[in-house]
Amino acid sequence: MEVVYITIGVSIIVAVFFFIVFLKSVKSGQYEDTYTPSVRMLFDDELVKDEKEGSKEPEKAKENQQTNNKN
């Protein structure tokens, strides 16, 4: 049953590891603004299209996508 030392040891190391990761994420300010990132992630599509841009067509497609998104 000496294996208990190892299993307990490993489980505590894993727990402590995740705990430290959590503390780091708090410290980095990850939880300070929980709203903006949720909006920001939806923008990535538009940015790519803008870089391609040029004709009016992609814009139309974009608009369609917009309405789809809304639905």
């Binding site: 505590i12 705990f19 708090v26 603004d33 709203y35 903006t36 909006v39 920001r40 940015l47 608009e63």
Partner: protein, 787 residues
Amino acid sequence: MSNCFHCGADCGKKPIKFDDKNFCCNGCKTVYEILNASELNCYYDLEATPGTIPSEIKGKYNYLDNDEIAEKLLEFNDGETSVVEFYIPSIHCSSCIWVLENLNKLNEGITTSLVNFPKKTVRVTFKNKLTSLKAIAELNTSIGYEPYISLEDADSKNNKVDKTLIYQLSIAAFSFGNIMLLSFPEYFQVDGFWLEKYKYLFRWLMFLMVVPVVFYSAKDYFISAVKGLRHKILNIDVPISLGISVLFIRSTVEILLDIGTGFFDSLAGLVFFLLLGKFFQQRTYNFLSFERDYKSYFPIAVTKIVNGEEKNIPVKDIEKGDRLLIRNEELIPVDGILINGNAALDYSFVTGESIPVSKNSGDKLFAGGKQTSGAIEMEVINTISQSYLTQLWSNDVFNNSEDITIKNLTDTISKYFTIAILLIAFVAGIAWYFINPSMAFNVVTAVLIIACPCALALSAPFAFGNILRIFGYKKFYLKNAETIENISKIDTIIFDKTGTITSNDKTQIHYKGVNLSSEELIAVKTILRSSNHPLSRSLYSYIVEKPFEEKPEEFKEILGKGVQAVINNSKLKLGSASFLNVESNSLNETAIHIQINNKYKGCYIFNNSYREGTKEVFNILAENYNLIILSGDNDGEKPYLEKLLPKKTQFQFNQKPEDKLTFIESRQKKGEHVLMIGDGLNDAGALAQSNVGIAISEDVNVFSPACDAILDAHEFEKLPVFFKLSKKTIRVIKASFVFSFLYNIIGMYFALTGQLTPVVAAILMPLSSISIVVFVTILTNWISKKL
């Protein structure tokens, strides 16, 4: 009828057409052009009509070129890159986030920009070589996102959020969970052999994990207990710290001497629940600030005129005798004398009165007014700290830090509680000493452990926390939980008048004099159309007749006095009484007098309109409270108010900001608990001095002076309900105290009979805490159902 493509406002009869789209003004069109040119028109796809009309820039941000000022605003600057955080009140939708995060497309020098939506800020990183702070501020303004820069930004930088509680809580949670798992084997005692072998490992692991809980997570309880004892107060933290230390010492002794497993799980659980309550009680509103003083309103820099040249200087450097240039829409930061130009000052920040006051050269100007008609020149007579308004902040009320001697409900009870517990422990110790001396230590520690008032300490935080949240949904934002308790003790309510019980936006107008024919009314309206004075604008929208198409001839506007013009061969003069050379029958009225073809016709009188439900609110409150109106205005409306409000309402007029403060102080000396409701900076002293200061605000995103609570003006009618609920909350807490005492009595039975084993403690402690939390949450939700 069409709406502006940019801002959604009504375009009127002649919209500006551009790119097949309608715009209400050139400003909106320009923003569209700017965004269109940089392929940022996605802005208009994300949300319909997301924009705001950009305000004028013209020299507004010149002061940002002054290095001394710029340095104060920058968060970071290493010579090449700089970081600045702007507060932009007009951020309101996802399009705003999108366009502000794509600022780098509009200005090469900007590396990144990051929006924090709840706080309405954008953090911009830029290259010093390619752009400047001024350029960025102007860019933001040009697309309708005007940064708000105030004196406060220069003073306090980087007031970071205190995350200690989160760390403490997470450590306690981590240890609580793990210790519970580790202590399970001994509770169930399944297999005697291997448990015997490994229990030492488990016990010492638990010990390791509980050490940070006691010495880090719970440290605030010890600190507060010591502070309380120094002031000779037995606050709730005293029995808590006593319980925690006894738990820790007894458990350590037990595992050292191999007597038992100790109470490590109960200890970690106790601290975890206590901190959870503390965390729950904290409610921060990102978009509100309860600490504002004049610095949040005042500009950071002004334009000084030296030998005819304009120079930007920080507001702090203003000296007596300086010449200052105040542009349109700028705030007067110091007291002075008007030298040049026509001043029409909007003192709504200060008094709540939004109708501008006219001043002529030679008149004294007080700090805090916003110039609304063109640029003026003034000479400084007082520096910023000595000005009439800002002097108020040198009063002691603003320097008093939190008073430690304030007793709250929980602490009042804990005094008797602690004494009782110590007595019981003492008596039980002596009794057991004679019955069975070996048990005495056990029983005494057991009493102190079980008496640790976890449930008692939890009921108030959870009840207050929940009510705080419910009030927040109903737009009554409280600074902290103590405010609820303070509201429940109130017996005197003092109201400011202007802006508090009157509303700013709706002004009542009535006409007095010879009736005007509809043709005359049309003529008046046509002339008013050409005037930009706020009074003209409200009267313009009041007159229902349609104006003539043609423009008035010989139009002349004398700022601060009135307008005159010829229309359809009749000569009209509109304006103040002195402008028309008529006797004003009462000095206290705001009115536009009308003269047609040299004949005096009459005047439109502007009355402040009282908030809807003012009468009802006062009638309800009059049953339980003393009511006082404390106003900085003259007593012109006293007769009307006396009719409107309940008979016992008292009135105090012509009160200066300091008078308001001392008035409240004098009432408090009589033993009254005073609640002050105000809105402007002139109430700041009164709000700080009163037991509870409530600032009322038409738009909570806009500024309100430092206070304990902010109430959305539209919820004014609900005031009595809020007060009543605060009282009921206290009753709920008292009921939950009784409930938690029951648990203590049950626990005391186990403790006194020497039967308190770790298992009993491990069941009783979380059970009592959780049931109390459920109890107060359900009750507080139930009492606030009607809100």
